[in-house]
Amino acid sequence: MIKQLCVLYIVLSTGFLYAQQNQCDFILSGTTYEEHNPTPLSYAVIRVLELDTTFSSDDEGHYILEHLCQQKYTLVCSFLGFRPDTHAVYMDKNKGLFFTLHPENCELDEVVVKADKSGSSGIVLLRNNDSSVSNDGASLLKEISGASLLQTGNNTVKPVNHGLHSSRLRVVQAGASIENQQWGEEHGLELSGIGNLTLSDQNNLLYHHDGIGGVVIANPHIYVNEDTTLSSEGLLYSSINSNGSSGKIGGELSSNLGLIPWIGMKTFGSISRGGDVHSPMYNINNTGYQNYDYGWMLDAKHRKFSSTLFYSLVSQELGVFSGSHIENVTDFERAIKAAQPDDIHTGSFDYQIEGPKQAVQHELLSYQLKFLDKYELQVSRQFNQREEFEGHIGEVPEVDLQLNLTTLNGDIRYYSTWKNWNSTLGVNAMNQANTWNYREFIPNYENNRLGGYMLIENTDIKDEKYGIKLGVRYDQYQNKYYTLSGNVNRVFSNMAYSAQGVKNLKNNYVLSIMNGMSWRPPSANELFSKGVHHGAATIERGDVNLKKEVSNQSQIEIFKRWGTYHGSVNVYGNYIHDFIYSQPTGNVALTVKGAFPVYQYVQTDAVFYGSDFNFEYEFKQRLSGFSSSTQYTFIRTLDVATNKPLIGIPPNRVEQQIGYQSKHYNQYDNDDFVRYNWKVGAEGQYFFRRANTNLALEFAPPPSSYLLLNTFFVFQVKNRQDYNPVNIRLEVNNILNTPYRNYMNRYRFFADEMGRNVKLTLEIPFNIINRNQAL
């Protein structure tokens, strides 16, 4: 993995001078390079927009363009595996222009609002050096304003964006839409080998139509070139936590194949283990976990085609807090009222994972083949197995529920360009089969979907002053459910569209407007569930006649990025027709364990609206080295039928971080080689009480507001100028050991959240290069 600053430098040379300056006799020449390699890049493709011509640099990376007129020219240099490098040059004399391409795996070292002119105002969060490579996807995402986490205990977290999650937040990895029974709030996110991670507020119709709350895209990548000398690089990391006495070891290794050019391989994996965590005042029993994940990637590139094969397997065994699985309403009410859990659940620390617990395995195989930059085939297969174990303390856990989900997905796409318009046409087919063992909480089913979509984008309207992205998609489902009481067939279909416009305003402000329609069919649990919901002491009843949900959303965002600061503010609204949620009926059902309130899945129209703000600034001159980051997230909801808010919406929050770093932290200047660098920072997070909620539907009132203080210290050691440093990171989270309950933790009724945690992370990158010629 190559971490670099994306630096573009233009070297103007006046080497070639002609006495006579003909109107159309200017010469532009130069060399094409790749980042980090003094050897020029051969056969890079250069396109001159004004002339609509394309040529390539020669085998020594040189190019020469003659007979240019006295005007502006825009040149785009590109190469497979690299990001295009665009320059504009005004030819009023002979000039020189060098291109430096950085590989597609170029990772920016800061949180960046992706303000590219193609109009996507998704927020890009890449390997932020202020967080760790070893963090999983959900933890990285919660740093973004507008996003947060939904937790079930400590071991299961999933991302939330603008109040929406689970079936309403689409996750894509390696080109495949992740299918892991995401309807379950207590089902986490099982990803390995994440690569670049982006969160977009707008649905991306290339992958799916159900991104009502947005799309999370994990894009693993490797760097592939024509080199025939073997070179490898990678990263080893390790982290330990004081709270829970947990540890993780993992690594990534990328390599080319040596003798065979244009092939790259990557392998990655990690194992981790943790024991019981503790709140400031007591242990929280049975919250340990034991996870491992591994995977690999095989990339092949050629002038005419590129192909990527990706495989990952994630396996998790997650303890569920023993005091949270209460299968009797009287006990449940008692637990909610108690200040802290019964002593039997706050016993001494151990690593044992007893019942209740979850065991999950998720396997992903994804293949992408692209021809001539025009035709693309994307196929994937996923298998997800979830087991929920019951069992009281001291008993051997028994499997109570097992769900097996197999999903096959395929897309064929056609890319084309006409003037400045890029268009994508695609068709999609999906087949999904679900089976259960032990208990029919949701039935067996076979779902099939067929869809078609068209996306167009123009990034260069009026010289990059405007950008537009439009998309439309239509899908139809044929779903067959094989329940024990008989077969049910349902058909769902709908259109989806998305429209984004970006306008560059004065003073580096950018205005982005989005509007779109997404939809999702009801999930199997919403249609069919019958029975006690794991640990919630309620009986949930599905409704087989539920209709699809359709959402209309709009967002206006203004952002500005200028030198040392960038900020953004947005306002959004999401009107969801036939929003599905679980509502108490007021009735109880008698079970052998007592009377349980019965909840029924119903539909209503719901509105989600809110605003996010963030501002980051790097100080200069006397305060040079200091940086500040401020965020505010605000959201409210409304159930149109009852005129009351919904429940389960993340609380509003304000975050402020101050950092101070040494001069060359995260920099790769060629001039100064500084071996040691560091950064220290502190952050305050204030979570407001979730006041905008419907108390009649809540099991217990939302917890009060609270302030969390976190600190971090990063120490970097560099061995060579252009290589990644060794990172040592020390974080102390909840440094004040504040006891608090998190409204977005489904187990907030039973125990406080984790107290102080000291985390130490070590990241060691390495390069193994075997070159014939010295650099």
């Binding site: 065979i260 195989l365 298998f383 089976t435 259960w436 208990r439 024990l484 008698l590």
Partner: protein, 182 residues
């Protein structure tokens, strides 16, 4: 071509290694291999007149959710002493499983509690685990005509939690039987 063959070979290797679902979606597995208590039955024998046998059951054969449970009303004579015993069954599968024996085997981790709603019923537990009462065997003494209910609770109290009361532990059974004394 060399390159292509590498892909195919690797792909083939992997597909063989993929995890698979053993079940067929179109044939759902018959229910429940886990143990459920679906049936709670109280048997009453008049002390000294065993021909007078009364019983009442709570039954929820398909488990929580699904079809509604049924509860019998227990009808007892006035001013009579009954020897009673409780029986727990799992009737959800093809074979009936007797759960009561398990509770008796783990008597030091279980306790039954009986709470009548009327003073015309007096219940005492007659068995024990050696230290604390168990509650599988009880003696019921009825008074005059009345109607009310008796709440029967089974608590699972592992790890030495058991203290003779029903205030702690996990609830495995909580059934309110309507009782009529006539």
């Amino acid at each position: 071509m060399k390159k292509l063959s590498i892909y195919f070979v690797t792909a083939a290797l992997l597909l063989g290694a993929c995890k698979k679902d053993e079940n067929d979606p179109q044939n759902p597995t018959p229910t429940n291999e886990e143990e459920l208590i679906t049936t709670v039955t109280l048997h009453f024998y008049e002390k000294g007149n065993v021909d007078n046998h009364v019983m009442g059951s709570f039954r929820d054969v398909d488990g929580a959710g699904g079809n509604a449970a049924t509860i019998d009303t227990i009808i007892l004579d006035t001013n009579t002493i009954y020897t009673a015993s409780i029986e727990l069954l799992d009737e959800s599968g093809t074979d009936v499983v007797d759960i009561t024996t398990e509770v008796k085997e783990e008597s030091d981790e279980h306790i039954f509690c009986y709470e009548p709603s009327t003073s015309e019923i007096n219940i005492t537990i007659t068995d024990s685990d050696g230290t604390y009462p168990l509650g599988v065997e009880t003696e019921w003494t009825t008074g005059n005509t009345a109607s009310g209910s008796v709440k029967v609770t089974l608590k699972h109290q592992p790890n030495g939690q058991k203290d003779g009361s029903c205030s702690s532990g996990e609830t495995d059974v909580e059934v309110d039987f309507p009782v009529v004394i006539q």
